[in-house]
Amino acid sequence: MAVSTVHTVQSLSSTCSISNPTKSHLGFNQKQLVFFKKTTTTTRRATTVITCSAGDTVVIGLAADSGCGKSTFMRRLTSVFGGAAEPPKGGNPDSNTLISDTTTVICLDDYHSLDRTGRKEKGVTALDPRANNFDLMYEQVKAIKSGVAVEKPIYNHVTGLIDPPELIKPPKIFVIEGLHPMYDARVRELLDFSIYLDISNEVKFAWKIQRDMAERGHSLESIKASIEARKPDFDAYIDPQKQYADAVIEVLPTELIPDDNEGKVLRVRLIMKEGVKYFNPVYLFDEGSTISWIPCGRKLTCSYPGIKFSYGPETYFGHEVSVLEMDGQFDRLDELIYIESHLSSISTKFYGEVTQQMLKHADFPGSNNGTGLFQTIVGLKIRDLYEQIVASKSGAPLEATKT
């Protein structure tokens, strides 16, 4: 009579193995469906155990135009879950993959259908969907999500070639990072949460100058030309994905300093979609209201140019969203802790967790402004989402123990 609820419909044949243990044992991790068959004529109870990797992998998509593996965001995210993310041990040294105890981050460049030579021949940039194999991306993300390991190709950014594949085993959290995580509708369906990092043109320019000016081949002109040349494809193929994201981190120049064009002080907006399952947007003081907050004053002294927050409901591409915005930067620990203590629904497990996470990576870019703060908060939100999903899934087998 004991039948537990099957919560996902999978093709059982590919991911499951069937065994008939002589002793009935109940190993209730989420991956086992246990069927009891009571035979009517004898007292002997036959137990058939079907072990399925029913997939408790949570898939996160991150759209960013900043390459893969360097991503500060990724390191912050994996750090929230604990453990450092490292490249796979002993494999291809040019692999873009990062693995920690709980998280695996893959770079979507690995799904290029055309290598550098191929793209040159066809006249397509890496931003163009024609340079990417979305069928393979979909198949493999689906497989990982249902608990099946895959042999994923490696795109080598040094040689520009597609290298032999590496084995990716299903982790607890699977992050797909790159230019097109939300481009294909089938892949979009697989994402439990998605983030788009939206860098404005002025800030992008400033960051690329910082990144490239020291290089022998580069000049202000070449950096500018590169951004301009890529812009049409970027606007056509990458930018439209932001309407699908559950959270958008928008990075803009500050409004606190007139004519600041160095991109050092930033105005960062965390745009959070309302109504997303397991995701409760961060808010300031009073959820759903509109707030403008300057924390610097009698209790907190800030140095120039100070810090300014705002929060409120908005519409974004036809969706209801809540926007939390920070303009300025912190340069002291107590500023950060003060701000943390006034934010609500940040999904921390203890007071000061955001500050502690920020300090752990104090040498990463964005550690003193909204980019680091919001990336850290999104990391905590993802942890919260993961725990809620796991809790909801483990509801089913527990029912079986009762009968």
Partner: protein
Amino acid sequence: MASSFTTLNLNPYSSFGSASNGEINTKKKIEIKMNMISPPSKNGTRFKAMKFKGTRMREKQLTEMIEQKVVEANQVCGEDETSDECKVAWDEVEEVSQAKADLRLKLEKLQQDPLESFCQENPETDECRIYDD
């Protein structure tokens, strides 16, 4: 939620003083770290971490490719700025510039040669010869 915190002692150091993992630094170090926006000096920290021939080779290769591809892009775009060839050429420049930056970042932030784990398993390969400056 916010109100419950205002009654606590807001001395920022009292909650972290007992951190046993040593990750929380002294106040001065924190201030210095937080004020750092641009990456540290181009040469010193990076070359200290570079250990294997393979990494040195990659670094050199990427540097040369950046230079070469910028020249190419300027040439191709000089002929026709709106052509597909022009945007592909600058896309290549972006790709190798980012790859170089990634390598630089790994060396500076991790303070470790990215080939470290590969070379532990394959010490005999040419890439894993110890690089002597």
